[in-house]
């Protein structure tokens, strides 16, 4: 029993890290623009396809040498993060920016539209005639992401709890990235400008902050975090699918709301919490109920504490 609990804690933490990374992208944008970027999950999905394509092009698999794997992984992480950041930035420039002064519904609906377009792109991408996409015959089918890290148990083969190198990688790399983000937001000039803009965009503008630039930086960083998360996710889950952005995006958004949307530490807390809830509900309630449990929590939190766990109620406007 204790082993089961420990194992689920570990699974929950690793899953939670991925949720937290994606949730950061939602929460940062919401904090500044009060806008739910529905397409964020699909940026995450397409970034995973970038990694999968790279892995296929480089011919990496579990037989590759350690040096090739390490190099390939770094390349994947850089490529997916840059891709995610630039894609998110481009979407903002082309689609959302002209709608800044429009009623709130306009950017939200546009984001749903962008999400559709990206999903469709993902579907076509899966139809590429590369070996790693299964020859492209079945575009809509989930694609296997090769298991690039050794599947050894770091706690010894006799242990009932499995801790694999990929778990360590997910948790370690996520912590590094989150610390870097914390450093940027707390200690750099850009971070200060971001916090000021989130607090009050017009006052920030009066203080000489280039709000447009801050928004662009936010989309760039958020997208890059999503891209990074997609590599971590693919390594961990070993499957890539054109609809994975939709569900993981919703979960990550739930995490952001649970933590208090707009609140950066809240997104991390919410992500971890949601990861844990998901792991334990899969174990004790059944994986088929997973979305119902998670969205049930979302509804309950929104009804009883709309500001989330760490959010302040002061921001709520009627």
């Amino acid at each position: 029993m204790l082993d089961t609990v420990l194992q689920q804690l570990l699974i929950g933490l690793t899953n939670g890290m991925v949720f937290a990374l994606v949730a950061l992208g939602y929460t940062m944008v919401y904090g500044i623009l009060e806008f739910i970027n529905f397409a964020h999950g699909d940026v995450f999905m397409l970034s995973a396809f970038v990694s999968l394509t790279l892995v296929g092009a480089l011919g990496l698999n579990d037989q590759s040498s350690a040096g090739a794997l390490a190099g390939g992984l770094v390349l994947c992480i850089v490529a997916s993060s840059v891709f995610g950041g630039l894609l998110n930035l481009t979407i903002d420039r082309v689609v959302y920016k002209p709608l800044r002064k429009a009623p709130k519904l306009a950017p939200l609906v546009s984001a749903i539209g962008v999400s559709f377009i990206l999903q469709n792109v993902g579907l076509f991408w899966g139809g590429m005639s590369m070996q790693i996409f299964g020859g492209g015959g079945q575009a809509a089918a989930p694609k296997a992401f090769p298991n690039l890290l050794p599947a050894t148990n770091l706690l010894g083969a006799s242990s009932h709890v499995t801790l694999q190198p990929k778990d360590v990688l997910v948790i370690g790399a996520s912590l590094v990235v989150m610390s870097a983000l914390y450093g940027i937001v707390q200690f750099t000039k850009l971070g200060k400008a971001m916090r000021a803009t989130a607090q009050d965009p017009s006052a920030a503008r009066l203080m000489g902050i280039d709000v447009d630039q801050v928004v662009s930086a936010t989309f760039l960083i958020g997208g890059a975090l999503g891209g990074f998360a997609s590599v971590i996710y693919s390594l961990y889950i070993n499957t890539v699918h054109y609809q994975m952005g939709y569900q993981n995006g919703l979960y990550a958004f739930t995490a952001a709301v649970v933590g208090g949307i707009g609140n950066i530490p809240g997104a991390v807390l919410g992500g971890l919490l949601l990861g844990l809830v998901r792991a334990f509900s899969d174990q004790f309630i059944g994986a088929q109920w997973q979305p119902a449990v998670l969205f049930g929590i979302l509804i309950v939190i929104l009804v009883f504490r709309p500001a989330g766990l760490l959010g302040s109620t002061a921001r709520e406007k009627v």
């Binding site: 689609v95 469709n120 579907l123 015959g137 575009a139 709301v257 119902a292 009627v318």
Partner: protein
């Protein structure tokens, strides 16, 4: 008739007359079949369009008229379909048939809408959107997993066709072909209910509640100062919309003869309905009808035709994912949403000019 013409103008009445005659003289079908050699069965598509229009009008009541951003309309559509399923299939002892189900399913939808709406409608716009989205997913998962009740992924079937007096049935069925009779019966039933829905919604628009909707959309604070209770009005619209969506669900299940699998009623379905409204014109009844016709027309008529052209152009049967036009639908609708929001946020066919003016003056203020 004259009063109707005066109230609604000539176009809707003309459309109704044309649609009422169409199944007996499907001229468009004949023309298209002559041109492409493909039987498209426009009358069958029209039944689907009528049903989808009722659903679109339900969402329009909630989103367009009351201004409640709801992203889970499919949940209430599913409630209607599965209520109908439970009440009519052989598996259950009720077997009350279509006429009983059509009375009870809107009631079930209304109860669902009330239970969800009562605690959540005070949430601000985008939070409400997320709650309804979450509710939609929860409903889908529950329907999928309660296999004892819903038969899980198989769905409940067969849902029986509506009972009709022998006289009507014979009149509908040419040369005693019962399947065409059933199709025509569904056609006319859906058309009648759709027309009645439009009339009711038109009357509602001009009623006290309809004016309260406008007031709430424009300025909630001012409206509540004028003695309008926002909570009650919103709940009424939400409940009403849910009931109407469930009514559409009842028709949907009867027309398909199955409740379909619960995964049909997913987030994407809800968004497709919203898509109709945005393309047609949010808050506009005729816009919702146009949107529904365009959307289903694209899926069932234009898309197969284009696929055929594409295949011919590529020379033979290509199995590539991009060679089937139905795989382009999300790009098409996604782009439509983005472009509409940018260039024509009021939709292709917005409601009366007065409403447009109202929106403009609200935008300037």
């Amino acid at each position: 008739m004259a009063a109707l013409l005066k109230k609604f103008g000539g176009l809707p009445v003309l459309a109704l007359v044309v649609l009422a005659i169409y199944p007996f003289a499907p001229v468009v079908d004949w023309a298209l079949e002559a041109a492409t050699g493909q039987a498209l069965h426009i009358d069958r598509q029209l039944v689907n369009i009528f049903i989808f229009s009722i659903l679109a009008l339900a969402l329009n009541l909630q989103v367009g008229q009351a201004g409640l951003l709801q992203l889970g309309i499919a949940a209430f559509f599913a409630v209607g379909a599965f209520t109908t399923g439970v009440l009519t299939v052989e598996k259950y002892p009720f077997q009350i048939g279509f006429w009983g189900a059509i009375l009870i399913s809107p009631l079930a939808g209304a109860i669902g809408g009330f239970l969800l709406g009562a605690p959540t409608l005070r949430l601000r716009g985008d939070y409400l959107a997320i709650v309804t989205l979450g509710f939609g997913e929860v409903m889908r998962i529950v329907l999928l997993n309660l296999e004892n009740i819903t038969d899980g992924p198989r769905g409940l079937n067969p849902v029986p066709a509506p009972w009709l007096p022998t006289l009507v049935r014979d009149a509908m069925s040419p040369a005693g072909d019962a399947s065409i009779g059933t199709l025509r019966a569904m056609y006319f039933l859906a058309l009648i209910v759709l027309a009645a829905t439009v009339v009711c919604l038109k009357l509602l628009e001009r009623s006290r509640i309809g004016r309260a909707f406008v007031a709430l959309r424009e300025d909630e604070l001012a409206a509540s100062c004028m003695g309008i209770e926002p909570a009650r009005i919103k709940l009424a619209a939400f409940t009403g919309g849910a009931a109407l969506a469930a009514l559409a669900g009842c028709f949907y299940a009867t027309n398909l003869t199955t409740t379909a699998e619960p995964n049909t009623y997913d987030f994407n379905y809800s968004i497709m309905v919203l898509c109709c409204l945005i393309i047609g014109g949010l808050g506009s009844i005729r816009g919702a009808l146009l949107g529904a016709a365009l959307l289903l027309g694209f899926d069932n008529v234009i898309s197969p035709l284009l696929t055929r052209l594409l295949q011919t152009a590529l020379g033979g049967e290509s199995t590539h994912v991009m060679a089937s036009f139905s795989n382009w639908r999300w790009i098409v609708f996604g782009t439509a949403l983005v472009v509409m929001m940018r260039l024509r946020p009021e939709g292709l066919w917005p409601s009366s000019p007065q409403a447009e003016e109202l929106h403009e003056s609200a935008g300037e203020a």
